[in-house]
C-alpha cells in the first residue's frame, strides 16, 4: 500500500475527482466504441503506425485541439476565480496549478503541436515531395510529443500538478518550495516532447533543403515553406538549451545537485537565463509559421502575388537571428544595471522593424487586389490590427524603465496573449480552414466559421484589453484573488465574459467540423479557393503518394502559373512510386518513453531501468531492421487519380 501512496493527489478537491471520473469514462467509452465498431485494426494500420506526413500532421492537429480544450478549461477556471473579488471557487494552491498547466499546455502541447501539425501536412505538398526526409523519425517525433502531452496531463490526477508557473523559476521550483512530484512531471513531459520537437526540426530542415521539386530554388519556395525552414532552424538552435536546462533541473530536484539553488555555488538566475534563451526564440518558433499561413491566405484571397517576397524572407531571417539576442528583456528587473538593460531594450525594439515590414507587406498585398472575405481571410484581416496592438505593447514593454512598472502585471499577460492569440491561434484556425479541403476533401461551413471568428475576436478583446488597464492599476499576475478595495473587480468580470465568448467560439469551431462532416458536399474539386501555390496541384483529399508525377516549378506560385500562364507542372509520365513502409516501432518506443518518464517522475528506479532497456532495444531493433519500403504500381496510381480527378490524369 505504501508504494501507492505516492500517487495520491496532494491537494484533492471535488473538481479533480470529477475530472478523474470524466477521464475514466472517456477512456472506457473510447475502448468500447473501438471494439464495438471493430476499428482497432483500422486505427492501428492506418493511423497509429503511419509514417505518412499528412496523417501525422492530422494527428498533431487533433492533439492540439484536445490540448486547446484542456488549456481552455484551465483558462475559464482562472477567469471565473478572478471574476469577482475574494472568490473562493479555487484555493491558492489549486489556482497556482491551473495557471501553470494552462501555460505549459497552451505553449508546448497546443501551439507547438498545431504549428508542427500544419508544417507536417503542408510543407511536403508545397515543395512537391512525397513525404518528409525521414518519415519514420517523423512518426517518432509525433509519438514523443504525444507521450509528453499525456504524461503532463495525468499529473493532476496522479501525484499532483506542477505549481511554479510555466516559467518554473527556481528556487520556487526546487524541492525546498515545491515538494510534490508536480515539477518532476514538468521536467519529464517537456523533456520527452522536446526531444520530439528537436527531431522535427532536423527532419524539416533536411526535407526543405533536399527534397524540393525541380526548379524550386530557395527564393521560389512558397512563403509558408520559408517560414517553416526558418522556424526549424530556430528549433535546432534553441531546443538543446531547454533540454539541458530541464536535465539540470531534474538533477537538482531528484539527485540533490545545486545548479539552480541559491546556496552551495548554485545560481537561481541561471534557470531564468537558460529558460528564456530557449523561451524567447520559442516565441518566434510559434509566430513565424503563423506569418507563413497569413502570407498564403492573404495572397490567395486578395487574388494577388505576395508583396515584397524578398523582404518577407529577409525579415524572417533577421527575426530568427535577433530572436536569440533579446532574452534578457524577460527579467529587466533582475538587477543588472542600466547598461545591460539598455542594450537588450534596443535589440528588443529592433525586432519591431522586420515585423513592421511584414505587416506593411501584407497590407500592400491587399492593395489593388480583389479581396474575398472567407473565414481564413477574416482571421487574417482580424489578425492585422489586433497583432499590431499586441506588437506595439511589446515595444512599450521593451522600454526597460517602463517595464519596471509593467513587469509581472496583467499588462504583460494582456500583451503576450495579444500576440499569441491573434498571431498564432488565429493563424492556425485560418490555416486549418484553408487547408481543410486538402485534408478531408470537403469544406468547413463558412457561416458557422464566421460566427466562430466573431465570437473569438470579440471575446478576445473583452477578455484581454481590460488586463492592460488593471495591470497599470497594480494588479500583479498569478494572484488567485484580490480584495474589493483594489477596484479590479469590474474589469476582471469583463475578462471573464470575454473568456466565456471565446469558449463559445471554440464550441462553434468544433460544431462546424461535425456539421460540415455531415452536410458539406464532397465534390469540392481541386481548387476550391482559387489558390496559388503548389499544394493545390494535388487532388482533394490528397492521395497517399501526394503527386502522381513529380512537379516542375518555376516560381513561388507554381499552381497559379499553371492555371493562368500555361506553365506545365507535370511534364512527365506516371511511373511507379516508391513509398516508405508503416511501422509500429515509433509508438512502442514512445510507450517505453512514457514508462521511463512516469517512473522517473516518481523515482521508481526499477521502472526507469526497464523502460531504458526497452528504449535501447527499440533503437537496436531499428538498426538491424531491413525496411526497403514499397512501390505503388502505375495501374494503382492511374486508378486513384481517375477516381480523385487529379491534375495528371491526362497522362
Amino acid at each position: 500500500m505504501e508504494f501507492f501512496e505516492r500517487f495520491a493527489i496532494p491537494n484533492a478537491s471535488p473538481l479533480i475527482y470529477a475530472s478523474m471520473v470524466a477521464i475514466g469514462l472517456t477512456v472506457v467509452a473510447i475502448v468500447i466504441g473501438l471494439t464495438y465498431f471493430k476499428k482497432w485494426g483500422y486505427l492501428w494500420k492506418e493511423w497509429l503506425t503511419t509514417v505518412d506526413h499528412k496523417r501525422i500532421g492530422i494527428m498533431y492537429i487533433i492533439s492540439a485541439l484536445l490540448m486547446l480544450f484542456r488549456g481552455g478549461v484551465d483558462a475559464v477556471m482562472m477567469r471565473l476565480q478572478t471574476a469577482v473579488p475574494d472568490n473562493s471557487f479555487l484555493d491558492a494552491q489549486h489556482y497556482n496549478e491551473v495557471f501553470t498547466t494552462h501555460g505549459v499546455v497552451m505553449i508546448m502541447f497546443m501551439a507547438m503541436a498545431f504549428i508542427i501539425g500544419m508544417m507536417n501536412f503542408v510543407v511536403p505538398l508545397q515543395i512537391g515531395a512525397r513525404d518528409v526526409a525521414f518519415p519514420r523519425l517523423n512518426a517518432i517525433s509525433f509519438w514523443l510529443y504525444f507521450t509528453g502531452a499525456m504524461l503532463f496531463n495525468i499529473s493532476f490526477v496522479i501525484g499532483g500538478s506542477p505549481d511554479a508557473g510555466w516559467t518554473n523559476y527556481f528556487p520556487l521550483a526546487g524541492t525546498d518550495f515545491s515538494e510534490t512530484v508536480g515539477i518532476n512531471y514538468y521536467m519529464w513531459a517537456l523533456q520527452i516532447s522536446g526531444i520530439g520537437t528537436l527531431m522535427t526540426g532536423i527532419n524539416f530542415i533536411v526535407t526543405i533543403i533536399k527534397m524540393r521539386a525541380p526548379g524550386m530554388k530557395l527564393m521560389k519556395m512558397p512563403m509558408f515553406t520559408w517560414a517553416s525552414l526558418i522556424t526549424n532552424a530556430i528549433i535546432v538552435f534553441a531546443f538543446p538549451v531547454l533540454t539541458i536546462a530541464l536535465l539540470m533541473g531534474t538533477f537538482d530536484r531528484q539527485f540533490g545537485t545545486h545548479f539552480f539553488a541559491s546556496t552551495n555555488g548554485g545560481m537561481d538566475m541561471l534557470w531564468a537565463n537558460l529558460f528564456w534563451v530557449w523561451g524567447h526564440p520559442e516565441v518566434y518558433i510559434l509566430i513565424l509559421p503563423a506569418f507563413g499561413v497569413y502570407s498564403e491566405v492573404i495572397s490567395t484571397f486578395s487574388g494577388r502575388n505576395l508583396y515584397g517576397y524578398k523582404s518577407m524572407v529577409a525579415s524572417m531571417v533577421l527575426i530568427s537571428f535577433m530572436s536569440f539576442l533579446v532574452w534578457v528583456h524577460h527579467f529587466f528587473t533582475m538587477g543588472h544595471g542600466a547598461l545591460v538593460n539598455g542594450i537588450f531594450s534596443i535589440t528588443t525594439m529592433a525586432i519591431a522593424v522586420p515585423t513592421g515590414i511584414k505587416i506593411f507587406n501584407w497590407l500592400l498585398t491587399m492593395w489593388k487586389g480583389k479581396i474575398r472575405f472567407t473565414v481564413p481571410m477574416l482571421y487574417s484581416v482580424g489578425f492585422i490590427p489586433l497583432f499590431t496592438i499586441g506588437g506595439v505593447t511589446g515595444v512599450m514593454l521593451a522600454i526597460a524603465s517602463a517595464d519596471y512598472q509593467y513587469h509581472n502585471t496583467m499588462f504583460l499577460v494582456a500583451h503576450f496573449h495579444n500576440v499569441i492569440i491573434p498571431g498564432v491561434v488565429f493563424a492556425m484556425l485560418a490555416g486549418l480552414t484553408y487547408w481543410w479541403p486538402k485534408m478531408f476533401g470537403f469544406m468547413l461551413n463558412e457561416r458557422i466559421g464566421k460566427w466562430g471568428f466573431w465570437f473569438l475576436s470579440i471575446g478576445f478583446c473583452l477578455a484581454f484589453f481590460p488586463m492592460y488597464i488593471t495591470g497599470l492599476d497594480g494588479q500583479a499576475r498569478r494572484m488567485y484573488t484580490y480584495s474589493a478595495e483594489t477596484g479590479f473587480g469590474p474589469l476582471n468580470m469583463v475578462s471573464f465574459i470575454g473568456a466565456g465568448l471565446m469558449a463559445i467560439a471554440f464550441i462553434l469551431i468544433v460544431y462546424n467540423v461535425y456539421y460540415s462532416f455531415r452536410h458539406s458536399p464532397r465534390n469540392v474539386g481541386q481548387d476550391p479557393w482559387n489558390a496559388r501555390s503548389l499544394e493545390w496541384a494535388t487532388p482533394n483529399p490528397v492521395p497517399h503518394y501526394n503527386f502522381a508525377v513529380d512537379p516542375v516549378v518555376n516560381s513561388s506560385e507554381a499552381f497559379w502559373d499553371a492555371k493562368k500562364n500555361g506553365h506545365v507542372l507535370f511534364p512527365e509520365k506516371i511511373k511507379k512510386i516508391h513509398m516508405p513502409n508503416n511501422s509500429g516501432l515509433p509508438i512502442i518506443l514512445a510507450g517505453f518513453f512514457f514508462i521511463f518518464g512516469f517512473s522517473f517522475v516518481f523515482s521508481i528506479w526499477v521502472g526507469v531501468i526497464i523502460a531504458a532497456l526497452g528504449i535501447i532495444g527499440c533503437l537496436a531493433y531499428r538498426s538491424f531492421e531491413k525496411d526497403p519500403g514499397h512501390y505503388i504500381s502505375r495501374e494503382e496510381i492511374l486508378e486513384t487519380e481517375k477516381k480523385l480527378g487529379g491534375a495528371s490524369n491526362e497522362n
Binding site: L172, G369, N408, L472, D473
Partner: protein, 303 residues
Amino acid sequence: MRFKWIVFSSLLLLTTILAGCEPLLVLNPKGPQAETTASVIWISIITMAFIVIIVITLLIIMLVKYRASKQPDDYEPPHIKGNPILEAIIVIVPVLIVTFLSIMSVKSTYEVESVPDGYEDQDPLIIYASSSNWKWHFSYPEQDVETVNYVFFPTNRPVEFRLYSYGPITSFWIPQLAGQKYAMADMITKINLVAESPGDYMGRNANFSGKGFAENTFTATALSPDEFDKWVGEIHSTAEPLTEDEFNKLLEPGHLGKMTFTGTHLSFAPAPEGENAGHHHHMESDQDHSMESDQDHSEHSSH
C-alpha cells in the same frame, strides 16, 4: 458591418481606457522615479497609438477599396513586384520610431536606476527590505529598528532600498513611487526612490512565490521628516527588541500582520552583500560554505 465593428470596438477600448485613467496607480505617481516611468509610458502610448491608427486606417482603406464585391467580375489583380521607394519608407519610418524610443528607453532607465535629480546631495535613508514566505521585513540599520509588512520613510529624502529574499525570487514594488525589482537570496539589488507627497502607498511582491503570493503585500507610508523621527523615537520607547529566535519564527512560511521591533536582524543575520554575498562572487570563501551544505534554507544566512 465589419467596419462598424472595428470602429465600435476601438471606441469601446478608448472610452474604457479614458474612464479608467484617473486612479491607475502606475499613472498616478507620487515621486520622481514613478513620474519618469509614467511620462515614458504616456509618450510610448501616444507614439504607439499613432502606429496603430496608421495600420488600421491603411487596412480599412484596402478592405473598402479592394473588396471583391466592389469590383467588376472580370477584374484581374495585377502582379506587382515591389517598389524600392515604398519598401524604403516601410523600413525607415519604423527605424526612426524605434531609434527615438531606444534613446528614451536608455535615458530613462539610467534615470530611474540612480538617485533622482536634485536629491544627490542628501544622505539616502538606507532600508533593507527582505522577503520571506509571504512577508516583508524592513530593517533600518541607521535607526536600529525593524518592521514587518509596513515601511515608514520621510518625504523628500532619497531612500535606498536594499532587497534580498529568504526563499523564492520576489519582486519589490511600490507602483506609485518606483518600478519593481527582484529580491533574491544570494545578492542585494537596489531601488532608489523619493516620495514627494505624504501618504500610504500600496506595496507588494509582484513575482509569483507560491501559495501565499496574493496576500504578500505591505503598506509604504511617506511622512514628514519630523513625524518620521518621532515615529523612530516611539519605537525605541515602546517596541520589544528583535531576537534571533524571534526572527527565525518570523521566517516560517505564513502570513503575519504589521509588527515592530527595536534592533534589526542584520546584526545576527547579515544581508547577502559584501563578504556575505552568494559565494559565486567570492570563490575564496567556497570552503566555509560547503560545510553548511546540510543546513536548512532559512538558516542559510544566519551564519
